[in-house]
Symmetry: C2
Subunit: 336 residues, 2 copies
Amino acid sequence: MGFVASTGPSAGPLSLSAMGSFTVGGRRLRVSGQPAQVVAVSRDLPEFVVDPNGTYRVEHAYVQYFIPAEPRHLPVVLLHGGGLTGSCWEGTPDGRAGWVEHFLRAGHPVYVVDNAERGRAGWWPLPGLPYEERPVLRSAEAAWETFRIGLPGGYDQLRPFPGCLFPVDHFDHLCSQVVPRWSTTTDLGVAAIEALLAKIGRCVVIAHSQGGGVAAHAAERDPDHVAALVLLEPHGLPTPPKAAPAGPTPQLIVAGDFIEQSTLYRHLRARWHTYLDDVRSLGARADFYDLPAMGHPGNSHMVMMDGNSDLVACLVQQWLVQATTQGEGKTPRHRE
Amino acid sequence: MGFVASTGPSAGPLSLSAMGSFTVGGRRLRVSGQPAQVVAVSRDLPEFVVDPNGTYRVEHAYVQYFIPAEPRHLPVVLLHGGGLTGSCWEGTPDGRAGWVEHFLRAGHPVYVVDNAERGRAGWWPLPGLPYEERPVLRSAEAAWETFRIGLPGGYDQLRPFPGCLFPVDHFDHLCSQVVPRWSTTTDLGVAAIEALLAKIGRCVVIAHSQGGGVAAHAAERDPDHVAALVLLEPHGLPTPPKAAPAGPTPQLIVAGDFIEQSTLYRHLRARWHTYLDDVRSLGARADFYDLPAMGHPGNSHMVMMDGNSDLVACLVQQWLVQATTQGEGKTPRHRE
């Protein structure tokens, strides 16, 4: 009956009350003064003269959602990092179940984002918006290094760090999930997530890498709707974090292995500790999960795809349930 | 508990044995001789010097799948049209359940495609591939006309054809699902669908508009794996269709309303009849569902989103079960 991912021997059926998708945020844009394009889209049709002038929807996020038949916990938003889309949460490169299914089975409604200007959210090919420049596409060699699978130059032989849990035999699958990115669209992404929070209400945001910075900025703008933030090796965090009107949000940063061997990640790790100290000084819970120090070595930057992805998901899920149910996981509101 | 689409009063839970995604087809591409780009991706990080030279995965399709707990029928592949992605099948603009859920509830494993160079399949921003030219993005005004919601010029007042079943109050939602398209990637799309057929095995392909031509060409290349083809107002069909080695595939074309009022669709309708006549002359079942003539007026080009989308899905589902179970829905193999 075709290709079916393993969900483990005893997973049993997954029961949903609803599934679907929507777009959220963004704006209407009117274009004028652009020259026409002549395009042949198929042999059945005469050439089209395409007039690019007119009205467009731009800068929205695309969001796919799944609601478990019996929700037991807050909704979870899964937000990808730079150069990836929501597909990174849907399964592992070696065909195991992804975090979408993990959090659904744990009883969370799950919202999976393609943020503004990537994936199913589309992008803007016409002149006149601030992401007009050619975007960057990450090569396999760059992904190997940036996703901390192994040392620079290790891609050619697929030679990972010793003990690396990323399924390197399927590294090409991860490469096929990479999409073009702009370095100028972060503010659009923050605005789209803010619109998502307003739409779905109180939730937990789990965000990866560049998405961590996007989520943290959005949470500062709408703290009432963010019950907790889980940041997987984030960057672009607020400097310093602000005490938001509703009180600061409990936050967890999760970090993998092999950080000592990367200048980039040593730099980011120092930043994570400063950020968490700042969050703590604002009166909020701020935790750091150093996975190897906790007895879980071997994680790359792609913790949701590594061989222990289910274990990391369990740790995150336990943290967020605790952080959002114990007195809201917050100390009393702290105002300057 | 957040945003939940209506699935009708008596839908009950949807039970899945698995869900996930994969990419399929495409190739590895090595780039050399390109100049470096300097990019700042976030405030935490120094500017990156991005070397675009290296290895990439290109021209694959992205496929999301859902397997019902108790599959009763063949897998269904849902293939979008030009300028759209798989999101078009996930729900209606006014928040009703989409065809993904409909066919899952009917007992089909469902595979939803973002074909090569769009959506979660990514696209190619560097020079050197045949889709280097600026792609076309469909304006709301063009979508209004091409998706046959109303006469040209009717977008400004949201004035649809009288009796049009498209949820025009949510037309902006459809506009936000539109993504850039190239007119030069059709062959890549056919190859990716051929790879998908080889991966998942025997299935029914339901394809919309430009995707109909892609599906029909892929089915000619791999007829063993295509039990039936459902083409929703297709274009780009094979001219003429070939008798494939395994015998021609039973095919259904579905057409909506208001075709008399569109030069484009009058042209295509003539083409549909010629094509079906050709398929029939090859010995295959070839049916035409003229929805208004069958007593179901009001459909736009976006039949999977119109107010009667569930009814059209039922008609299609009944046809495909019948066509794939009655003596394989084929007359004996016909060889030239």
